[in-house]
């Protein structure tokens, strides 16, 4: 548990789960959750490379904090969109939101 590979494996598993969630789920909230998973897998990478990459400063940590802040903002905007979608379509299923399709 003390090597870069184990962290990278965990982060790629998380990334893959996130992708899987985004691609397979129809529920908008589940998709949002997938996105959060991807962002967190990236965070793990940042921290892991900072720890094992030989960097003296806390550059990776600072990036991670920025990403968490962005993820919070993104979650707020995305949830607002989803609420509006629910109001208009009566469902949070993304397949229902197809009024722009030709």
């Amino acid at each position: 548990m003390n090597s870069l590979e184990s962290y990278l494996v965990i982060s790629s598993i998380l990334f893959s789960l996130g992708i899987f969630g985004i691609v397979t789920r129809r529920n908008a909230i589940a998709i949002l959750m997938g996105i959060e998973l991807i962002l967190n897998s990236a965070n793990i990478n940042f921290v892991a490379f900072n720890r094992f990459g030989g960097m003296q400063k806390l550059d990776g940590h600072i990036f991670t904090i920025f990403v968490i802040v962005l993820a919070a903002a993104e979650a707020a905007v995305a949830l607002a969109i989803i609420i509006n979608l629910f109001k208009n379509a009566g469902s949070v299923d993304v397949d229902e939101a197809n009024t722009l399709k030709g």
Binding site: I19, I22, V23, T24, V94, D95, N98, K101, G102
Partner: protein, 685 residues
Amino acid sequence: MDNSTLFALLILFLPFTAFLYQLFFGNKLGPQTHFVSLGIMAVVLALSLGFFFQLFDYHLTDPILDVSGEWFSTGAFTLELGFYIDKVTVIMLMVVSLISFLVHLYSTAYMKDDSRYSRYFSFLGLFTFSMNGIVLSNSLIMMYLFWELVGLSSYLLIGFWFEKNSAANACKKAFLTNRVGDIGMFIGMLLIFFTVGTFSINGITDAVASGAFEGNMQLLSIAGILVFMGAVGKSAQFPLHIWLPDAMEGPTPVSALIHAATMVAAGVYMTVRIFPFLTPDALQFVAVIGGITALGAAIIAITQMDIKAVLAYSTISQLGYMIMALGVGAYQAGFFHLVTHAMFKACLFLCSGSVIHAMHHSLHHLDDHHTDPQDMSNMGGLRSKMPITYTAMLISTLAISGVPFFSGFLSKDAILAGTLSYYHAHHGWTIFLPIAGFGAAMMTAFYMFRLIFKTFHGDPNKKVIHEHIHESPLAMTAPLIILSVLSLAVVFTLPYINPLDGYGWLTHAVGTGVHVAGLDMNHVNEGIHHAHYDAMNISLIVVIIGILVSSLFYFFKKINVEKLAGVMNLIGLYSLSKNKFYIDTIYNTLLYKPFMWFSKLASIIDWDIYDQKIVDAWGWITIKISVKSGEADYNWLDQKIVDGFGKFANYFGNELRATQSGVVQNYLMGGIVGLVAIILIFQQF
């Protein structure tokens, strides 16, 4: 501009205004339109007379007028046109204006009721303009210009009755035959021009005198002969004489003006002008051509039955005399014969016109449109019916035959003396020239009296026609009277007996001829002077023989003409003469037929082979190739390749449409798959 120049310009251009007036306003005055032309010609005649009387002013400078102006110039080459009037010009001008005026007068009666009356007078005006241009010109090039204009007006007048096929053909024949001679003249002019650098006749004479052709006299001989070719064409000399008999298809006054007195004399006049620089060799050629023409045409004239054909051949024969005279160096005699001949031959033609006119009216009265009014075998005994015409014709016949006290005697004797002295000087074959001269003189007397006897004497051959013959009106007889008076020797002899001797007015006016190309004129003139009495005696004898034989044949009818013709025909003589030495036939066989055959061949090659086979084959091949190329274009290029691109795009478009589902997750899926693929691919490197 002094008066002489003004008068010369008026003489030249007044007939041209007549031409323009009759052409554009000819129908204004209807049948009175001839008064305009007649008035203009009277003014021209008066102006010419003004020049003519200056001849008798013994203080006169010669030339009277010599002016020229630039026509155009390109670089170093300048072309000048101008007038040259000396005493020869004045006499010639007088002849042209006088005969032109008389013919205009005569035509008012002869051409009356013609449907193209004003056009006839306009053509006469054009002709007089062109003829005056030739007479007045000071350079060969200006002479050539008017020479061609004369050819044109002759063409128009011969073909005046172009409804007749024969007239239409005759005018073409005249024009083309003249063209042959004119080409020679033009080349000759250029040959001279390239050596001496001028077209001016005086300039050429001066240049030759100062030795421009020194050591190169053959070139001058050739150039002279070539220029003389123009005269051969225009003056109907052998071998280009064939157009003149055919030209009788024109109205008879036209024949009198153009084909007897003036235009055909233009060739002689031109030869007079170029005489000073014709070399002795060229002159010998000129003399032989003249001799052949004089004798040959006289032989042909003997057997012709058409009254105008006789006169046409007699004209050719007399022109041959003039040319022969110039050739043997009898310059003065040649020119004098031109003047006397113009008078009596115009008179003869106008008399024949008067006879034809009367015949025509009589036939018209009888409603007979088949009998030929010009055939002498339909005439006979007209003397009692047409006394004025008869008298005028008899006088001019005596003149042309060379009977003493008539003008022809003076000039013809001088020519015969010239040929005789030429033989005395050269011996050998040149005896041909006096033989031709005296022979033609005898035959002239014979055939002219044959014409008189057959037309005016004896019993009428056709009684019905004879009854309706009337004398012609005054407008026609007046010119006859004037011209017959001018055929009397006394008009030309005053104030001395012989106009050609040292004191004669013609010697004073024309001089004895200048020559700069190697002929000693003093020697020639002396020879002529010595031969004069011999020539006179011989010519008197031959003329008397001619007239006697003619009267035995046709007046006393002592000898049966048909029998004699049969006897002569045993060696082909009669038909040789009757058929004009077969010259037309020879030209027909040697020139016309091969040319037509060649044209036909060329046309066959061009049309049947080249056009039909080769050109059309190209067309056929092109059509075939086009069809194939069209098929290939449509079936292959259009249908397969162009449409193929369209179908290809269409097919893949259809296929690709399925991927454009609008489901964002699918796109993302694609993106991730692509990313993974790229990573996997790049991992290999």
